[in-house]
Amino acid sequence: MKTQPLGKANAGKSDVEHAPEGMPLRYGDDALVWACWLYYEDGLTQGDIASAMGVSRATVNSYLAEARERGIVNIAIEPARLASLTIAQELKRHFGLVDCLVVPSEETGKPLIDRIGAAGAQALHRLIKSGDTVAVSWGRTMLSIGEAASVSGLQDVTVIQAAGGTRASFTYTPELCAAAVAGAVGGRLVNISAPAIVSSRMVRDALLEEPLIADQLAVLSGANKALFGISSLRPNSTIHTSGFFEEVSLQDYLAKGAVGAVSGRFIDGQGRPVAGPLDERIIAMSLDMLKSVDLRIAAAGGFDKVPAILAALRGGFVNVLITDAATGRGILNADGVTVVDQKLAQRPRSENMRFEGTRSRSRVKKFLNDPDHVVEEMLDGVVRAHHKYLAPVGKSNRALIAKDGPRPGKVGLVIGGGSGHEPCFLGYVGKGLADAAAVGNIFSSPPPMPILQCARAASGDAGVLFVYGNYAGDVMNFEMAAEMAEAEGIAVRTVLTTDDVASSSAEDRDGRRGVAGNFFTFKIAGAACDRGLSLDACEALTRKANARTFTLGVALEAGSMPQTRRPSFEIGEDEMEFGMGIHGERGVSRERIVSADAIADKILDRIFHEMGATSGSQVAVLVNSFGATPLMELYILFRRVEQRLNSKKIEIEANWIGHYCTSLDMVGASISIMHLDDELTELLHHRCDTAALKIG
């Protein structure tokens, strides 16, 4: 990967090479730019730069990290371009396309629709010729292409709307999309003077006989090029939001196996037309008409569209595809093509090929009696070890109650989840923190019964607060338990922890999963409850704590289940999984392993991007082991966290380093930061006494 500072000038390097005394004038007063230039362009080491600039090496390091974060240094996307080229070639080969354009996938930056729009605009430049008749369908992607494109010098181009008109309740109607493209290529616009969907077959037949409309449709069937999007049937797709099919039950088509739509026509996974109630009421390009067009240019991207795009390719509706790298790779994977993955993986690895062959680890050694009894035996040990803090509610150790926790008039805090995360959750049961914890099987939510037992035992007639990680299984079981508790007259409120930055976009905060940051959320919730605040207040404070907590994790080796005693998956020797959950599942992406500082920087850059903390803010930091990573490495990570926070003048109010929320014996760590305010700071320091956390 090549990095280069912005605004690279043609200035000679010679004056820099002579290790200048002061800061050269052309860098203004920007030490960051200067440091970056020396590092990335002149190839000096950080030590050399430190002496050249008269600052410490650690400062240089912070400068470089800061420069990346502020965008002074951009990571050039050459490898990404290579990847998208590889994917484009593979798509072209596998599906026998005339052409394929794949835009690189970026983590941030412009929205996908705009990037595909820009690529579509380029494609128009290349593909539309004088004299063409181009049919244009509708949708967000089409409009984006029309708006981005500008092709001059064409003559006698006709642009025809591929479907009748719709209500203008959205901006990407067939009329507007066709008009945008016509404007972009300087072509003559032909509209279809009929609605896209009419009320009955009779109306349609009558309209088709109208000479004006018949003429327009004749232009449509004479199109030699078509530009269209591909719609998924997902809840947020154009098909749902556009109102185009508002009166049609999509369930009807889904039940018949439809996976997507092109030009308002539904197709199944093999690209075969799916008949439905709409067919005889639609005035638009038919699938047969589309197939007879010479150049059929489809532009579509997004993972939700993969099945639909694949279907359109299989059905032969597309011979030019414009998409993005991630979607393209998804399409290939979905069709069983993995060469791309191999090709992409080979490139960086070839330089350090070693002689050892594929070597899979044999069984992982564990302290076990009976793998099927690990949870019971662990809980037995826990109850014996921590009887000062907790005890089983009933006969089973699956519901544990704090000995000195619940009291009349106090909101009861119930936490819980699968086992395998120890000391989570049971280690946080005790005075000043959780009143009860429900324990499930390994990585599995507890069933409703132990949760209900916890709720009953924790209730002091002031209501009960459930706080747990946002996972489908936990939500279902805790919700069932909450319904049962409510039926018994116990008021229940729920806060789901959603601190994992990697698991979904910032806009979808509620869709994120809860990971190690729940340590902070539990702590705040426990303190609020222990102070005797109302259920409303406890819930609100807990929500605030969760909203201000951000976590990102990295795994170096997968963990192993006691029953299988093998790593749940393989992580290559020079790879890491970025964006780990805490269930031994895979992370969000597989990347090349880099230094501890670089990993910490990558995590922190993502967290800083979302956390509104500025100079003078206070935070709490948790550097957490996933189970097998030792304290030594956690301190190395913490060191970098502290440097970065320090260079931002953000104060660490409190920090914890160790095993707080694990994933069996996974090798890896996560960094969590809670952005404090006065209220949270006070609650953070509130006294608590549990097996895993004592404060005050």
């Binding site: 889904l254 993995t338 939510s445 299984g473």
Partner: protein, 214 residues
């Protein structure tokens, strides 16, 4: 031995339990690819708990609906997770819908399959195409209903449709459950929940086809 419908269902759960034990490793391998590597263990544990609970029950004095309800409660308690509430709700729904007279004749079997499917849908709020167990259950229930007029074909049609559905999850992106976090990385893998649904469907087929052959 005198056969009643409670015994028939108990036999069905036994067969499911046996089949899960056999497929445990396969299901766990599927789950290693896109989940947390415990699906085979969970399903096998849950259905063996159901089978042993039923083996301790007085089946002669139980109705089919009571067996179904007992299976739901036992499965839920043993499993938790997401499969627990999903199957428990499916089984409870089937118990609620079960008639008193001949609850498990051909029409009753189809109704049971639909009720289980519907319960799972209700609890998980899922749709077809989300890459979940519903991608096997929904087509299976549709196929069984389509064959309601030909009792001998119900279960082979259901299994065939369920299997096709499960296989189709390979080209889907998970939208629900833990695999949803993987986004496009879930492509190319069969959903373990859909695969275990096929295991259940086949055990059901074996149970009811055997009964028909008597």
């Amino acid at each position: 031995m005198q056969d009643n419908e409670a015994r028939l269902l108990s036999r069905m759960f036994n067969k499911i339990s046996e089949a899960m034990a056999k497929e445990k490793d396969y299901l766990t391998e599927l789950d290693e690819a896109i989940g947390d590597a415990d699906h085979g263990i969970t399903m096998s544990l849950g259905f063996s708990a159901v089978a042993s609970e039923l083996s301790r029950s007085d089946l002669d004095s139980m109705s089919a609906a009571e067996v179904m309800a007992a299976a739901a409660a036992t499965f839920l308690d043993a499993v938790g997770a997401s499969t627990g509430p999903l199957y428990a709700t499916g089984f409870v729904n089937a118990a609620d819908k079960m008639g008193v007279e001949r609850p498990l004749d051909a029409a009753g079997q189809v109704a049971m399959l639909r009720a289980i499917t519907f319960g799972i849908q209700q609890r998980g709020k899922g749709l077809r195409g989300d890459k979940t167990m519903l991608d096997a259950w929904m087509p299976a229930a549709d196929a069984a209903e389509a064959k309601a007029g030909e009792p001998g074909q119900i279960w082979s049609a259901a299994c065939e449709a369920g299997e096709l559905g499960a296989r189709a999850t390979q080209s889907m992106i998970a939208l629900r459950g833990r695999a949803a976090r993987l986004g496009e990385r879930s492509l190319g893998h069969i959903d373990p929940g859909a695969a275990s649904a096929v295991v259940i469907l086949k055990a059901m087929r074996d149970t009811f086809d055997e009964k028909a052959a008597d």
